[in-house]
């Protein structure tokens, strides 16, 4: 059974049809990529999966559970975390706080415990802080744990967002253009980290433009063009798929495909 199944999803904004009959099955323990030209509707897929917008038709299920009507924060709690194309960290909070926000739903002490700072409260906060630091050290930002996030470089912000998403202890991680704006060495490091994540048993579902990155990293790839899935399969298959080449050639992006 796949981790996430998107079945027959359609979405229109006003009169504009953005997605049409999209079917995607994202397996667990694998890296799955959704590629396609700009404006193909990739981010819309993520917005639908995370519950930020409602589909016009079709259904989305996570671990067999229908997500219709489930609010975004519940979807996160079910085990889907996400990063954003245009990084959305909390700039005025420290790195540690940023990551600890991700552990919000995992801290379940009550109001009274909070007010009186009971041992249970202290223990929960301590564990949460430890886990946050662990995640920060994993993305090599632990030395800046107490700095505010707005001081970070672009690449560091991406890594922070990464750690923050992992802090929610997801089963599936949605990455929206994770290497945008990164240099090749940074990309290589990140690629390694994403593989690490997969090897720990997480599912990874990413959107990316960088073909080389996708082809080297992913287990399966789906291609979205003008709101429709035109191909789906392992990277080698996709690389040679005529419709995909057509779609990219039509846009003059052949260099990226090859």
């Amino acid at each position: 059974m796949s981790l996430l199944s998107i079945r027959g999803i359609g979405k229109h904004f006003g009169g504009l049809q953005v997605l049409e009959d999209v079917n995607i099955e994202v397996p667990g323990g694998a890296i799955f990529a959704l590629i396609g030209p700009n404006g193909a509707g990739k981010t819309t897929v993520f917005n639908l999966v995370t519950g930020l917008i409602k589909p016009s038709s079709g259904s989305i299920a996570f671990e067999g559970r229908d997500l219709a009507g489930v609010p975004p924060h519940q979807i996160t709690r079910l085990g889907i975390a996400r990063t954003f194309q245009n990084i959305r960290i909390f700039p005025d909070m420290t790195l540690l706080e940023n990551v600890m926000v991700g552990r919000h739903h995992l801290l379940n002490y009550g109001g009274l415990a909070l007010l009186f700072a009971t041992p249970a409260f202290r223990e929960a906060e301590r564990r949460s802080r430890e886990r946050a630091l662990e995640l920060l050290s994993w993305v090599k930002l632990d030395h800046k744990a107490d700095a505010t996030a707005d001081n970070l470089s672009y690449g560091e912000q991406r890594k922070l967002e990464f750690a923050r998403a992992l802090a929610t202890e997801p089963k599936l991680l949605l990455l929206d253009e994770p290497v945008a704006g990164m240099n090749p060495s940074e990309k290589a490091v990140l690629m390694e980290e994403i593989r690490n994540i997969r090897d720990r048993g997480y599912g990874v579902f990413l959107i990316e433009h960088d073909m080389r990155f996708v082809m080297n990293l992913c287990d399966r790839v789906a291609v979205l063009n003008f709101g429709r899935i035109i191909a789906e399969g392992p990277p080698d298959e996709i690389r040679t798929h005529p419709d995909v080449i057509e779609a990219y050639l039509g846009r003059g992006d052949e260099a990226e495909v090859s």
Partner: protein, 290 residues
């Protein structure tokens, strides 16, 4: 000692007012900490004040019970109006809460039980310095605890990026409602305390100007820490007293100070971050010298 007795006799009300205003500024600080620009806190103060005053005047409840009433009533109202209102954002939320505040004031003005424009008089003097000190301390402690917990982090996350907060598993709606309601509770208690040392309350004390006053204190002091609102409240309460010699123009100076602070101290008077930065720079400079 006699000098102190004289001073206290003259200025105790002023000191009480500082405490009340600090409580109000903290109530708004809490609401703002969740990114909600609310102008309803003056109305919540009024609801708390009237509830508590009616409880002591008519039902002769003991003061702590009346204070509790003054906390619960605005909380109930906040819960009711919060759900639909808090969907609005930014200035639109400000305007909706402003409208709510005006409707509340007009309602108080036209009800029988509230005494209409003549207000309620003869409210017993029950607020003592200790009540204000203890409640302010409890409020300060509670808010400090909230800041350092998942609740405070959630509020701040919502303020900085609502969508990202949502996707961190935070129930944005219920947290907003919590911040709004807790703010209403603090404002209500402030109102209840105020009513019981000024002998008298009337609808005009809870209008637009007062809402803006509360906002001004909070922003002037700075919202980056709990000290800011308290500082802002203290300054804006004491300033008019210190400016008495300016007579007709003293409000002009008040306005000027407000403008100057907004222009030159963007984060308010008290900005913990700025202070830390200053301290760091100084230390760095010292460390740099042989």
């Amino acid at each position: 000692m006699a000098a102190f007795a004289d001073f206290w006799a003259t200025y105790s009300t002023l000191v009480y007012s500082v405490g009340i205003h600090a409580l109000l500024a903290l109530s708004l600080w809490l609401t703002l900490s969740c990114g909600l620009l609310s102008l309803a806190n003056a109305a919540f103060m009024g609801i708390g004040a009237y509830t508590a005053a009616l409880l002591t005047l008519n039902l002769h409840w003991p003061f702590p019970a009346a204070l509790l009433g003054g906390a619960v009533a605005p909380a109930v109202v906040a819960l009711i109006i919060g759900a639909p209102t808090l969907r609005l954002s930014g200035v639109y939320l400000a305007m909706a809460t402003l409208a709510f505040g005006e409707v509340t004031r007009i309602l108080i003005l036209n009800l029988q039980i509230t005494g209409g424009p003549e207000g309620l008089n003869g409210i017993p003097l029950l607020t003592t310095g200790w009540y204000i000190v203890v409640i302010l301390a409890v409020a300060g402690y509670g808010l400090a605890r909230i800041r350092r917990s998942r609740l405070g982090r959630a509020f701040e996350a919502i303020r900085e990026d609502e969508v990202a907060a949502r996707l961190m598993g935070i129930n944005v709606e219920s947290h907003k409602l919590a911040a709004f309601t807790l703010g209403a509770v603090l404002a209500g208690v402030a109102g209840a305390l105020n009513a019981h040392f000024t002998f008298f309350i009337s609808p005009r004390e809870y209008g637009f100007e007062n809402a803006v006053d509360i906002l001004t204190m909070t922003i002037l002091g700075g919202t980056t820490s709990l000290i800011g609102p308290v500082l802002g409240a203290s300054i804006l309460t004491l300033l008019p007293e210190l400016m008495r010699f300016l007579h007709a123009y003293r409000l002009a100076v008040n306005g000027l100070i407000l403008v100057v602070v907004v222009l030159f101290l963007p984060t308010g008077l008290w900005d913990a971050r700025r202070f830390r930065q200053l301290l760091k720079n100084r230390r760095a400079r010292k460390g740099g010298q042989p």
